[in-house]
């Protein structure tokens, strides 16, 4: 079955669970930024939970289906329309041959997940179908969709249940203002203690220069660093370090100015100090922050981070329980 791309949307790419094992060579995980919504979309259709889907950022695509298909849209609120007629989100929809499925502008959240029964069929690269655009790897031709592209879907593994919905309590919680939990560490000793307190009490705004690589934040106070003699090989700026690895979720602050939170297409390393890392449980939510969303960092302990991780696992278990027939 083929899907023709009439309009690509702002940044639509094929994603799945992502890849592991090559970060030491500069290949980041990639994969759906909001893994819970991505998995829910597949589970709605009875697909493999990690089948490849379209991740649609901010402004959705317009797609023409050459054959009938079942689809589901989860995540950011991007009004789906079939031949111009509004359809519900988080629900199994049927698209007939020749019909056009369009997703609108994200009214809340940043990324919608469009799953198609049978999953999108693109070749695996290093164990995943996810697009890593910086390295022209995976997905469809290693890049976001363009007008005129044609996508293929696999064979459905089961019969989809038209009209079936994801219960409200299992949907992603979208807001305009977020609290993001972070574990201080890495190079936070470089920051004066009052300055770190200020960093944690400031409200930050997501900049429009935010993408799958990282989120740039603005609106808070610049960091003040502990004075030092620059270590050999680090560079003269007080925020420079000898180039090191960057954890996924790490919060770097180049020149102490605008923090950048790295996400699933992260640059794997570099020479800027990091004040800490967003906990794994909050990375899905982070992927749903659109430009101008506001956030505050909340410091947590490792124990609290692991508790939150277990809670996220229970959320995912709840979605599975609700949707696995």
């Amino acid at each position: 079955m083929a899907i023709e791309v009439k309009k690509p949307g702002l940044a639509t790419s094929v994603q799945d669970q992502g890849r592991t094992g090559n970060y030491h060579l500069g290949i980041p995980p990639a994969g759906a930024m909001d893994q819970l919504s991505f998995r829910a979309a597949n589970l709605l259709l009875g697909n493999e939970e990690t089948a490849a889907v379209l991740e649609c950022a901010i402004m959705g695509p317009e797609l023409v289906f050459t054959e009938p298909a079942f689809v589901a849209v989860t995540g950011a609120r991007m009004q789906p329309k079939i031949d111009g007629e509004e359809q519900p989100m988080d629900t199994v929809l049927e698209v007939d041959a020749g019909q056009t499925l369009a997703l609108g502008f994200a009214a809340a959240g940043a990324r919608a997940y469009l799953a198609v029964s049978g999953g999108l069929d693109v070749p695996e690269a290093l164990g995943s179908r996810s697009t890593y655009a910086l390295g022209s790897l995976g997905g469809l031709k290693g890049r976001p969709l363009q007008a005129g592209d044609v996508l293929e879907a696999g064979s459905p593994t089961g019969a989809a249940d038209v009209g079936r919905t994801l219960p409200e309590q299992h949907r992603v919680q979208l807001a305009k203002e977020y609290e993001v939990r972070m574990l201080p560490g890495l190079y936070d000793h470089r920051v004066a203690s009052d300055s770190m307190k200020q960093f944690l009490s400031d409200t930050w705004q997501v900049s429009s220069e935010s993408d799958r690589i990282g989120y740039r934040l603005k609106g808070g106070s610049p960091l003040e660093f502990v004075p030092r003699t620059p270590p050999f090989g680090a560079g003269d700026d007080p925020s420079n370090i000898v180039d090191a690895c960057y954890p996924i979720g790490s919060i770097q602050v180049p020149s102490g100015q605008e923090p950048i939170v790295l996400h699933r297409d992260a640059v794997s390393g570099g020479g800027y100090m990091m004040v800490g890392t967003v906990i794994s449980a909050d990375m899905d939510t982070f992927g749903q922050m659109a430009p101008n969303a506001r956030l505050r960092f909340v410091e947590v302990t490792l124990e609290q981070a692991l508790e939150a991780r277990a809670e996220r696992e229970r959320r995912l278990a709840g979605i599975r329980e609700a949707l696995l027939a």
Partner: protein, 292 residues
């Protein structure tokens, strides 16, 4: 001397800094510890990433407790004996057209982002490092071997650290403001590291030249990338060989016909031998390239 610092990158990463400043022995320990850790095949370890003077381990905290991981790493570090400071690796020769027209065109286009808009990147780097002209600077950059001390930033990009005494290390600042463009396969320099840009894209390193040899190919069509799409590994040793435009074109044509063979040879590097004779030992390493 050991001042290893352990810290957490959230709940999924253990970050280990072996030295705050760049040192060859710290890099070496990073390589040896991460190699041994990989050999242990601990359940729950998903990524092991050596860097210049530090390393990072990503793990699944549901399968592996960070305290246990840290104990294992500490035990490995404590047992790194002097005898272990040897590395079986390979030396690779990378042909470079220094002062090439493509990086020249790019650097002229981004001149206002440079510390010294009135000279080229090579002229600037030669001057601030005390070389009389760019020829002498190129001779220094291409004269001794380099260690690939980290692969990353983007797919397959090697960071390289020169095998010379610290007072002879070339050092240059990055651009004042990063360029939005760098030609693919540019040989660059920032801080005390040289690099080869594996893909076209943004970059802040000074640009010295370009190699005709691809080092990253996600389609794996290039012969020396057919087994794996990324050429470099941390621990590789690199020797740059200056070439002229004629040879550049010839190699490029060979690459396009898929008939180009990268020159490389297995070699053993010994840190104690290097430290005992930092001026003479690299010459010995280079002999491996010319022996076959």
């Amino acid at each position: 001397m050991t001042s290893t610092r352990y810290t957490l990158g959230g709940d999924e990463h253990l970050f280990v800094e072996l030295s705050e400043s760049m040192r060859l022995d710290a890099f070496f320990r990073s390589i040896l510890i991460t190699q041994e850790l990989a050999a242990r095949e601990l359940d729950g370890v998903t990524e092991i990433c050596p860097a210049n003077a530090s390393f990072q381990v990503r793990f699944d905290p549901d399968r592996l407790k960070v305290d246990h991981l840290k104990e294992v790493v500490q035990e490995i570090e404590a047992n790194l004996g002097e005898h272990a400071a040897r590395l079986d690796t390979r030396i690779v020769e990378i042909p470079v057209l220094y002062n090439d027209p493509w990086t020249h065109e790019t650097l002229m286009r981004f001149r206002e982002r440079h510390q010294d808009p009135s000279s080229t990147d090579l002229e600037y780097a030669a001057r601030i490092n005390g070389y009389p002209d760019i020829e002498a600077f190129i001779a220094a950059h291409s004269g001794t071997p380099w260690f690939v001390s980290m692969v990353g930033f983007v797919a397959g990009l090697p960071f390289m650290y020169q095998m010379v005494e610290q007072d002879k290390q070339i050092q240059v600042p990055k651009y004042l403001k990063p360029r939005t463009e760098t030609p693919k396969q540019t040989v660059g320099y920032g801080g005390c590291f040289s690099c080869i840009y594996s893909v076209r894209g943004a970059g802040g390193y000074q640009m010295f030249g370009i190699t005709p040899v691809p080092i990253y190919d996600p389609e794996q069509k290039v012969d020396h990338l057919s087994e794996f799409m990324i050429f470099f590994r941390p621990g590789d040793i690199v020797k740059f060989r200056p070439i002229d435009r004629e040879e550049y074109d010839a190699i490029l044509a060979e690459v396009e016909r898929n008939e180009y063979t990268l020159r490389s040879a297995p070699v053993e590097f010994s840190l104690p031998e290097f430290e005992a004779d930092p001026a003479g030992y690299p010459t010995k390493i280079l002999e491996a390239l010319h022996g076959n």
